[in-house]
Structure formats: C-alpha cells, structure tokens
Amino acid sequence: MIIIEAENLKKNYNGFTAVNGVSFHINQGEIFGFLGPNGAGKTTTINMLTGLARITGGRVKLLGDDYTRNARKAQAMMGIVPDESNLYEELSGRDNLIFCGALYGMQKSLREERADRLLKQFDLVEAAGKPFKAFSKGMKRKLTIAAGIIHQPEILFLDEPTTGIDVASARQIRNLIVDLNRRGTTIFLTTHYIEEAERLCGRLAFIVRGKIVREGNVEELMTEARGENTVHFNLGGDFSCIEGDFKARFPNYGIKMIDNSGVSIKSAHSFTLLPLVSFFEERGFPVYEARIVRPSLEEVFVKVTGIEIKKMQSQKEGSQ
C-alpha cells in the first residue's frame, strides 16, 4: 500500500527553483532513501511533505487523501527528525520526550510510560535527567529520533540522521532505524552517505538540482549500472605470462592482472566459472578465491549524476 505519493512537487523561493517537478511514492513498511548532494532539494522536499514549507506546485497524497485538505490529521501520522537536533536545551532528556508526546495530545501517563521505554530502547536512561544541552552530539541525535517516534507515527522522516556524529553513534542509529522499520514504521530517509543508503534502504531516489534523476530499488539500480560482468580470481604461482594463453582459449573474455594476487575477468555475458577454474588449475595456478564483483551504489550514483561522492560528503560535513 502506498502511504505517501508526491506528484510533480515544485518549490520556488523568490524566483529560485529549489524543487522542480519531483514525483515519487513511498510504500507502507519500507525505508525509502532520498540521496543527493548539498542543496539538491532533499530538506525542501521533506519540509513540503511535512507542512513546514508551502508547496508551489503539484500535490501530496497521504494514504490516498490530499494532504492539504487535512494537514493536522496528516501531521499526527508523521514523525520528523530534522538534520539538526531541535529539542529544548534547558529541558531534561525525559522532559523533552514527555513534552513532545504532549504536542501530539497524548495523556500524561501514556507519554511518561513511552518516554521511559524509549530512553531504555535508545540507551539513554542514565542521561534522562540531564538537560539536553549537556548531551553529546550522538546522544542528542538519538533523543531527537526518540522524540520523533514517541507518538508512534505511521511514517518517520529522517533528515541526514548520521551526519556529523561519531562512528559508534552513527552505527547505533543505523541499527535503531532498522529496528524501527522491523517494528512497522515506514521511513523516509535523506542522506548523502551512499553506504548508509545501500545498507538501509529498499528503494532509492537520486535527487540533483531539485530533480529526481533516477528512482528504483537498490537491486534494480545496480543491475542497470552493471555494464559487464566481472569475476576476480585470487591465484597462486607466477601467472604473469598467462594473458596470451587465456585470450586464445577464451576469446570473448577480457583479462586484466591485479597486482600479484590474481586476475580480473570481464565478459558481456554471464560466466560459467568451472571452465575458468579448470583452466587455471591445469596450468598450475591454484584458485584460492573466485568472487563476482558487483557495482557499488556509489558507482551507480556517479554514473547517473556525474557527482563525485567524496566531494558531496565533504561539502555536507563542511556545512555542518
């Protein structure tokens, strides 16, 4: 079932087009990734979906209903975790959660019970009584996620949840995201970390300069990017003179030496591994490992958008 459907969304700010005709849908129960460089329109899209920015053109449907007709009902179904933690500095961790529960009309006993459960789930029990301003960056991000789900939303918007925090906290947050999704929460995740998107998301959209340049599930995107099949063989012995012999035996395959450890075989068609293994073994080069090389999501992204990942990540971290 489709939970959110965006049709031809547009956003202009004083003549500048931040989002230009974006269309996508999010299925209930999935983690949908929105991947793009700084300024691509990720946060603006989230703001339009959640009601923080007015839509210039297009429309959003939530469970089939036009979002704008009943924005309050829609907001009650959403949890939002912005790219910067925005809880109250002077309130304690627990009080922040309880206050956020109250904003969604939860009764006192229920919000207290949920706050305590979330503090336990997010490993924040010890810090529960400390003011938010005393939290570390990773703890702040975890508490902000907890605040976003205290009312048990149907869909959770996570805007760059792991940007600018330490590796251990980022890993813990990724595990929490997976856990939340397993418990039934649909997640809309924006990120500029390709590995994060690859690891977490079922489907993805690449957004560049306000436009979606590609959308699909991770497997589809990778298959699309795979121009040819590649297998790496780790070999023993001195196989440096094998190239001529190999080309004579397998004229349709390409071969390339990889340092002294093995060879990389490329083919436009799928491989049958056994003849290749036999070929090497017969010539006295034992095969220690044969590994099919899949293109990474990073390669797919670079191929589709032409944007270098390292440049994109350093831009974002610089802005943080």
Partner: protein
Amino acid sequence: MKAWIAFASILIKDMRSYYLKPPNISWGLIFPIAWTLMFFIRSPGAFEVRELLPGVISLSILFGTTSMLAVTITFERKSRSFERLLLAPISLNLLMLAKTSGAIIFGVINAFIPIIFAGFLTDLSGINWLMVLGSVIFISITSTFLGLFIAVSVSQVFEAQTFSNFFRFPMIFLCGLFIPVHELPIFLQPISFALPLTYGADILKTAVNNNGSFSTPLSFLALIVFSVFLFAYSIYNVNRKWIS
C-alpha cells in the same frame, strides 16, 4: 481535547522555562520600584503613590510582556525548536495562543506587584478593582500581541530588543500617562490615539483615580480591536514568513 493537552503543555513549559525564572521574577520586582523611585527623586514633595499607580502598572506590563515574548520566540526560532511546535498537529492560532498565554499571565502577575507595594504606602480604597482587573488583562493581551508582532518581524534576538524599544519608549511619553493626550502637541496626538497603551492607561486612570479622559467602554473596545488586529497580522506574518 488533544489540542488542549498540547496547549496546556506549551503554556506550562514556557512558564517554567522562561517566565518563572529568578531573573524575570526579580525584573518584576525591580521595575516598579525603580519607576516609583524615579518619580520620587524627580519631585519628592508632590509624590503621590496613587497618582503614579496607573503609569507604573501599565509600564510594568508593557515592558515585561513585550521583551519576554519577542525574545523567547526569536530564540526558539533561532534554535529551531519552534519548528517542532509548527509540526505539531494543532492549529496555528491555538499554537500562537499557547505561546502568548504565558506572557499574558506574566503581564498580569507583573501588574499586581506595584499594586501590592502601593497597598503598603497609601490608601487604596475606592478603586474600581473589577475595572483594574479588566484593564490589566487587556493591557497584557495587547502588549503581548505587540511582542508577537515584533517577534515575527525580526530574525535575531538583538533585533527583537531594538525593535521593541522602538515601540516602547515613545509609547511611555505618548500614551497620556504623564502628559495628558489633549496637552500633547497637535501633530503628536494622532500617534497617541494609535497606541493601545493610551486606552489601557486611561481605563486604569479612571479605575484608580477617576480621572480618565475617554469613555471606558470605548477604550475596552479599542483594546479588543488592537488585540485582534495584532494577533491576526502576526498569524498572517507567521504563515507568510515561517511556513514559506
């Protein structure tokens, strides 16, 4: 019901986080004492607490409410915690009423501090307390909504303070508290009539010393009109600027 839980929580949080903090309580005490002393030093022989009371009450409310609301909302906007409120499933009108209610209550509390002081210094018999309460509530509402108007017009905390003073200081001298409106130069009188405090202070003068210049029902009506206008204009600005 759910919306009212949110309303009450925002109000209680603001009271605890901002209005009932020791610096604000001390402000509420120091401000009326400072004003009273200022007049005492200026003219010790002619010092009449009861004559000063409407002015001190009005200014305590005006300064207390406008500074607090303008600063707290601008601060929350800056730290982005205000976004959290905008994302809550409650109407913008109710949200802004919740944010302003704390300042209105703070204004009413501030108003009664000089009254309590005055009770120790002079005879307060014959005062129309119902009218005092009505004017205090309406001055608090209009001053708070003026603070809201300022908060939605600026983006930095220091701008909020500067912009508040742009309204407040001329208001002290033009609202008829110290110089009656009809004694002001003719070109300043229209400005005086355009200030909400002019009407609030006049009701207080009538209630405390029975020497107001305007019709009390008309002054109440003027305060209601100012309140509705300032609130509606602020909501329009929030919609236009913050949910852009």
